[in-house]
């Protein structure tokens, strides 16, 4: 963070003033504002309770739990293949990406590895879910600031990606395609050509959004210098994904850990931004969609032949042990701590979802901002309710 913009300085002064007011307790009467649980601006059922002084937030706290479905308990009474069907629905926009770390953890415990072709296809589908997820974010970003057009564009181009996922897996939304030891099926005929076309369309979509939204003066003044998160705070709260990289931390699990996925065979750039404000977070995500389309393009060219499934027993029993696998999901680091006791199902699964950590910073970051900025900051942090509450 080389140079503080005027807006950053102002927001710093504002947060200091809010602190001072809390300490001194001036006689102004505060107001408590309740946003949600169902509110057009909260992306689902997150409720925010903010105590205001005039237009400024003195204290804010999200109240989660309206979507708590008890995943960690339910995984204990299901078999490994059944768990896969369930965990699709944690981050419902990038559902295939939820399956991968869990399957990899189970494979790590069983000491097997999927064949190279399956790893490749997994990576392709993983990136497609990232595109499906983040493109909706880019459209939704406009809605949060009063521009309705981008969301129509996002839904238009997202359909192409959903069609691809449906063509490959049979499921438009929740594929449940990943199996321990590989994939359920190979890709259908003609899928690769179609994917190439769609990736071109998606890159066009990114250019359109960049022109329409990121070049917009209102958008810039609503996001630049708003909601700044420094790198050390971001790491302490466990922010991950684009939120962490927007604070200048060069950390991407696709590149920085070796998993049996095909990321080491492609050339892609991990974008970081030094500012850590809302604009940086949005911009990083835009670049990530672009990188994802490039990754898919490269993987299509180098798709190896061979089977997509190794030999696994018909009834899967995972040997005793503990394993942690996390991947760079569309929302950030998604990991599963799987404990098996040699039974049909896991003994315990701790689900580390990205949004839970990402949104836990809101009491810190919302202090001192103005009420309209609550919405842009939350939008730029990008959460999905199922991913917070699980």
């Amino acid at each position: 963070m080389t140079m503080l913009s005027e807006r950053q300085q102002m927001s710093y002064i504002a947060s200091q003033a809010a602190d001072a007011r809390l300490n001194v307790e001036l006689e102004t009467e505060g107001m408590t504002l309740n946003i949600g649980p169902q509110h057009p601006a909260t992306h689902g059922t997150l409720r925010i309770i903010a105590r205001l002084d005039g237009e400024q937030v003195v204290w804010a706290e999200p109240s989660a739990g309206y979507m708590h479905r008890g995943y960690e308990k339910l995984t204990e009474v299901r078999t490994f293949p059944q768990v896969t069907a369930l965990i699709n629905r944690i981050d419902w926009l990038g559902s295939f990406a939820n399956e991968v770390p869990f399957i990899l953890a189970a494979e790590q415990l069983m000491d097997i590895e999927a064949p190279p072709r399956a790893q490749h296809i997994r990576t392709i589908l993983f990136e497609l879910s990232r595109i499906a997820n983040v493109s909706l974010f880019l459209g939704d970003l406009g809605v949060q600031m009063g521009a309705v057009t981008p969301v129509f564009m996002a839904f238009r181009d997202r359909e192409y990606v959903l069609n691809l996922i449906e063509g490959a897996t049979g499921g438009r939304f929740h594929p449940n395609f990943d199996r321990i030891g590989g994939l359920k099926d190979d890709l259908p005929k003609g899928w690769l050509d179609e994917t190439r076309q769609v990736m071109k369309k998606l890159r066009n979509f990114c250019d359109e959004i960049e022109d329409l939204l990121f070049g917009n003066e209102i958008f810039q003044s609503r996001t630049r210098g708003i909601g700044v998160i420094p790198a050390d705070v971001a790491r302490q709260y466990g922010l991950s994904g684009a939120n962490l990289r927007a604070s200048g931390v060069d950390w991407d699990l696709r590149r920085d850990q070796s998993l049996p996925l095909a990321y080491d065979k492609v050339d892609f750039r991990v974008w970081t931004h030094p500012d850590g404000d809302s604009w940086a977070r949005c911009w990083i995500r835009l670049q990530e969609v672009r990188e994802a389309t490039k990754i898919v393009d490269q993987l299509i060219e180098t798709l190896p032949p061979g089977p997509v499934m190794t030999k696994v027993p018909r009834i899967i029993k995972v040997p005793e042990g503990e394993a942690w696998v996390s991947t760079e999901n569309p929302l950030g680091e998604m990991g599963y701590y799987v404990v098996s006791k040699g039974d049909l199902g896991p003994f315990r699964v701790k689900i580390r979802s990205a949004s839970f950590n990402n949104i836990s910073i809101t009491p810190w970051v919302l202090k001192g901002v103005y009420v309209p900025d609550i919405i842009t900051i939350l939008a730029s942090l990008y959460f999905i309710l199922g991913d917070i509450d699980r």
Binding site: Q38, G44, Y66, M67
Partner: protein, 181 residues
């Protein structure tokens, strides 16, 4: 409309009103979980375009809505809010329950925190199955509801007797899924 209040509306007039009501529904989108995205695709995307069915998905508050689509998992913590939202809507009001979770709990049938079906809290007119249902399925649900409204006895609704068809043997509505009720 004193005639309507007293429940003594001539059948032809009822039919006329019903056609008017069924093609001018304001839908409140009560998006809760995964289904909310598919509902957004059905209501907000250029590909599915629900407005051609005479349904307007943009009321600012439930007080202006005729229809609410409960899409997604209703948790025990959320249930009071759903109930309250339903009570805020003016009569006549309709509910579409979208997705397995809202229908019966779906994949969370054994969860400790999920309400097993939104029909435990509010009366439901049309159930749309699927996990999540495709946008087309939701549109079919809307069409089925419109058929239902066309056969509704408005007087009974105003007297608080709920849904009653105007014709005694209501002809089966066959849109894909076969007759309802």
């Amino acid at each position: 409309m004193g005639l309507v209040d007293r429940g003594r509306l001539p059948a032809p007039l009822t039919k006329l009103f019903n056609i008017g009501r069924s093609y001018s529904m304001w839908v409140y989108q009560w998006g809760l979980a995964c289904c909310a995205i598919e509902m957004g695709a059905a209501f907000g995307s250029p590909r599915y375009d629900v407005m051609r069915l005479g349904v307007i998905p943009l009321p600012a508050s439930p007080r202006q809505a005729d229809l609410v689509v409960v899409s997604g998992t209703v948790t025990d913590k959320m249930a009071p809010a759903v109930k309250r939202l339903y009570e805020q809507m003016p009569e006549p009001k309709y509910v579409i329950s979208m997705g397995s979770c809202a229908n019966c709990g779906g994949p969370y049938w054994d969860s400790y925190s999920v309400t097993k079906g939104v029909d435990q809290i509010v009366p439901v007119d049309v159930y749309v199955p699927g996990c999540p249902p495709r946008p087309e399925a939701l549109l079919e649900g809307v069409v089925l509801l419109q058929q239902r409204i066309k056969h509704e006895d408005m007087g009974a609704r105003w007297r608080g007797e709920g849904f009653k068809p105007i014709v005694r043997e209501s002809e089966p509505i066959v849109v894909g899924g076969g007759p309802i009720e």
